[in-house]
Amino acid sequence: MFFLTYLRRELRRRMRQAIFIGLGLALGIGLVITVMGASSGVKQAQSKVLADLYGIGTDLTVTVKPQVAKNPGTGQNFRISNGPGSSGPSGQICTNGTCKALKGGDVIDTLAAANYGVLGADEAAKIARLHDVKNAVGNLLLTDNRIVIPTSNNGPLPQPSNVSVDGVDPAHQNAGPLSNAALAKGRALSSADKYAALVDSNYAASHSLKLGDTVTLANQKFTIVGILTQPEAASPPNIYVPLKVAQALSIDPATNKALTSDVDTIYVTAASAADIAEVQHEISELIPGATVTSSADLANQVTGSLASTAKLANELGKWLAILVLIAAFAVASLLTIAAVTRRIPEFGTLKALGWRSSRIVSQVLGESVGTGICGGLAGIGLGFAGVAIINKIAPKLSATVPSASGPRDGGFATSVGGPGPVQQQFNSAANAHATVSVPMSASVTVAAILLAVLLAIAGGLLAGSFGGWRAARLRPAAALTKVA
């Protein structure tokens, strides 16, 4: 009771100094909260990008690099040229070195694993049997490349169409890109489906597709049984078809072999977040040469303003907040020592009255901690304000992410072959990157508030302990001499 009365009165007496110290601490703590809020906003944005890219609940993806044809003549390629003086475009399609002439009106429609090499059908099962693996599901991420050979020589060569297709196991639709999708119309794929397809709503809208319509992939018609809405991030597949049908229709461009029972991507869910690194290591040993990517690996590959902001928040912001805090703590400590120096006669009197040094120190500490807590509360307010300002002024962040499921750039690529004919040829190697835009939503977390309270108390204790140490060392006789 006496302690609190004394504390309150002293703080009131030195109101201006207390406000100055409190504001210094508030500034530091507010900055820490703002940086933490911004950092958490960036992390949320990253998580959103990665979750969209990866699928909900997927911890790791397993792929292998596409095989390079040992003999340049193997695999499948085609060439179409608009040569001068010819009666029409000419072309040829070659499979494992055997070429066939193309004529106007011919349609080339191939479903190929363009980005990744193939993994055996049993690889997913092997991974699923690993300790600490909860689930492992194989998908076949393909690109349907379609071009119609023109009949006349007039005008530019036609542009090929590329459609991204994901062959999914109807029994395991909760892994990979499909896990992020929501069924807007129709139904999901079932195990009984054969030539059935789920179509992305944006793709359906741009191609005027509706339930019951058909899409053609590798010259095979599929009936649309469902329309999906999917997150924009990482360009999700346009069409999902049953895995077995996809395997039967697709070819590996490197070998020109059908992917009868193969997959090219395995989505793995670890038993727990703590097991991810271990599982990643185990899979790398199980399938030598496989690329096992975790969300952390992907996060490192994210570029664009999202990555820059993350860097800014984590590096510059963190250090700025620490520097301001150190300055605030130092100023608070110096001012508290100065205040104790001015109160030497007062503490000398209390010692003459028989007060323990510890009691005097706790009085000084109490006053400092009281100031610190007021500063902390103001700092929390400043933190909320800082976060609100960030949310108000922060532009949407762009993230360029390596696509795990999106359409392959290329497929058909147009090339200019010197002064001669304009040519188009099949290009199986492609980079898959997508740029997405995500809003940054900074927020004040409970952890940030707890940290603020701890910092406020720590700041108060630090300042108070310097002042208290000085007060404790006072000899009562020397302190009283200061009065005279």
Binding site: F2, G354, W355, R359, A484
Partner: protein
Amino acid sequence: MDNTIYRLSGVSKIYRKGNREIPAVRNLDLDIREGEWLAIQGKTGHGKTTLLQLLGGLDHPTHGDIQFAGTDPFAREVRAGSFGFIFQTFNLIPTLSAQENVEAALIPLKIHLSERRQRVLAALESVGLADRAQHLPSELSGGQQQRVAIARALVKDPKVLLADEPTGNLDEDTRDEIIGLIESLWRERGLTLILVSHDSSVVRRAQRIGVMSKGRLTIRQDTRTL
């Protein structure tokens, strides 16, 4: 020690400033009886206050021995319970009311709040300031502030009252009023009073008068037997 409350043997206090030694009290032998009023007179800087601080356990002698009623006068507990101090500049805590300033002297004694309040009010009443209990020092006159300081010194019922120039900051009328109050409290309570002053009109009321000169104490007058 019959009724001797203090026995000082060969007490010296030497301050050091760099390599220089400044003796404030030199080789002092002194007995003080329980309930006596000893006044110490002397010029500024001749060791009066230092001697008072040694007697109050606020500082240790450089040489010699101080015995106090069979206890260690330098122990904090002894200081908290047995010595009451009155200072020239009152030394009240400016943010605390008269009542709280007096209460501050009871904090180290760990007395229950209700008893503490009773004793504080009784002490303020004994110095005639019960009606000013809630006033801050800045709202009191110099004489009233010194009365609060006297109440603070007496509230714990000390054995010894140590007063360092208690009237030094007061005008003549207030000085007489305060010294009269101290004298009456000394008589009523049977305190041992050790009072330092350079004012002869204050000092001459004491039973025994000692004069400090260059750190040495000479007893000039002793009316204890009268």
